[in-house]
Symmetry: C2
């Protein structure tokens, strides 16, 4: 048996007033008598009235719902960003729909369209690895009013606000720290160069080397993904070289972990013989018995700020001006045992 929800129409019938009065009373309209308001409120409660946001949204054009697309939701970084986003937006009455792209541009595009159909008020995206064609994003921008905001993994597109961390700086500081600890032959485990974040980490590494007059050696840049296994195998092949590295700056904590495991396996000493720094400050990096240095990306904050950029843009928009923001957060280097050679 299907239960019917009570509507303002039901309340109006019961109280012998018009639906308009009920609607206004419920919305605390100034020109409704206190008495009526109380009457309506009582009836609403008694009849277990629940406002239908669908109808409201259809009328107002605002769903008070936003969408967020990430590669996978069950990673520390992305789930933390989403946590921040939810905590920033929820108090303002916004719901958050989550979508996974599985790091695939085709799925990402599909999810984007689904969100558009759902009439979300804003779409937050951290793009997938193989996203390159941004034409459909531009088309959405030019044909709809739905703002798109990129966080972390972005592309530069006019009209799209972005919230990122300063990957270059994080990488630079990490490399600089290794140099200051006396490491001289520093390798970099580089991530997918289709993504700006990994380009910036690589460049930060390179610039630190240059600034400290260390030679840039092409072979010291190893392309890896971000799995433990790739870290292990990268380390394995590195150690077969005649000239061995004395430090690793990895663009991923997982490859850094893989490297640590293999280093232990090779009976080399961390941090005496070789230093290691990762990136992301995954929880496990500090849990390890030999804790791993890493660069923190403040993901919860990134989520909150992303949400805030949207909220602010709504305010701005009321005055007809839409400002494109490019916010860059500062990462924090956490120095732990894996790279602290000097006491």
């Amino acid at each position: 048996m299907t239960k019917k929800n009570t509507t303002i129409y039901d309340i109006s019938k019961k109280l012998n007033v018009s639906v308009a009065t009920v609607s206004r009373a419920l919305n605390n309209h100034p020109r409704i008598s206190q008495e009526t308001k109380e009457l309506v409120a009582a009836a609403a409660k008694e009849m277990n009235y629940k406002q239908n946001n669908l109808a409201k949204a259809l009328k107002s054009g605002e769903t008070k719902t936003v969408g967020v697309i990430v590669p996978y939701i069950n990673t520390n970084f992305f789930s933390s960003v989403i946590r921040g986003l939810e905590e920033e937006l929820s108090p303002h009455g916004y719901r958050v729909i989550i979508c996974q792209s599985h790091d695939d541009a085709a799925i990402e595009k599909k999810q984007l369209n689904t969100l558009l159909h759902t009439q979300v008020d804003c779409i937050f995206i951290s793009i997938s690895r193989n996203t390159s064609d941004m034409e459909y994003v531009k088309k959405i921008l030019s044909t709809t009013n739905t703002p798109i905001i990129f966080f972390d993994r972005k592309k530069d597109i006019p009209g799209i606000s972005t919230i990122t961390i300063d990957d270059h700086k994080g990488a630079y500081q990490a490399t600089e720290h290794l140099i200051q600890q006396g490491y001289k032959n520093i390798c970099h485990f580089a991530g997918d160069q289709n993504l700006e974040i990994y380009q910036n980490r690589l460049n930060g590494y390179l610039d630190a080397l240059k600034d400290y007059k260390l030679p840039v050696i092409k072979e010291n840049i190893i392309n890896t993904g971000s799995s433990i296994e790739e870290g292990i195998s990268a380390m394995k092949s590195l150690w077969k070289r005649k000239v061995k590295p004395d430090a690793i700056f990895s663009a991923s904590d997982f490859t850094a972990l893989g490297a640590c495991k293999e280093i232990k396996n090779l009976k080399i000493k961390i941090p005496e013989d070789i230093g290691v720094i990762g990136f992301s400050n995954e929880p496990f990096t500090q849990f390890m018995e030999l804790s791993i240095s890493s660069v923190d990306q403040t993901p919860v904050l990134m989520g909150k700020i992303s949400g805030n950029v949207f909220l602010e843009s709504i305010k701005d928009n009321s005055s007809g001006i839409s400002i494109e923001k490019k916010l860059v957060l500062t990462p924090t280097l956490h120095i732990r045992q894996s790279s602290k050679r000097k006491k």
Copy 2:
């Protein structure tokens, strides 16, 4: 400048047909000529038509959207369940709205109401620690058609399907394993007894002791939360006893980790002097240099099955029957270094 979305009305005007025809053509209605369908499809594409799900939902009463409420989204367990949920439901056209209760019953109730306003087709909840009054949940059940499904952290309420793991079994197997490894004075770090999952873990531990004729010692049950710090302090005070424990079965991986850290600090040997097992199979448990044994809860699977229970209930409902399901998944014990004393 505000861009207007094209509607079926726009298409109907352009093609000089009725909106009904457009709607039917778009929905591939059998009694529309192929010619018209193609015409409409072409116009829709050209005019960049995007269906408004809001209007559709208002009409049909189905939003194709579900809500999920968890304490916090950025934990491995909950984000993994949500991943599974999204992956099960997304192919069927459902969107997933995520809400955080911050482990607080009052917020949980608020989120529940928001989801109801949003007209979601189903609500998935893992209840907060201090949830006790289930009256409002029962009221929702009796006054709305919105199904509620509990996963992991549940209460038994008629009409609500639940998906859990067999915590008793997981705890029993963990304890049994410790016993078989020769440990005799096994302590339990128990979680919040307001939650069934922790009750069950405690009972599994107790039953294993009984079955193996080991004495049940009340002082060996330590109430902790699930933080590293509590694990450390619990271990600290345990080691001040005259009769010291030789194993810990913790209801949480984090307290287990804390115990391990303190054990190392006390210069005791794992697993020779003391064995440790946690619960949840958090990623870090296997990353540790001294890997920690733990009970895996298969969270992604739990999410998928939760989604599936909902999908099945829709099918069932078409025949007017709504079946309340109580599904219990089997956990898997992962034996690692922290508890493997015998070779």
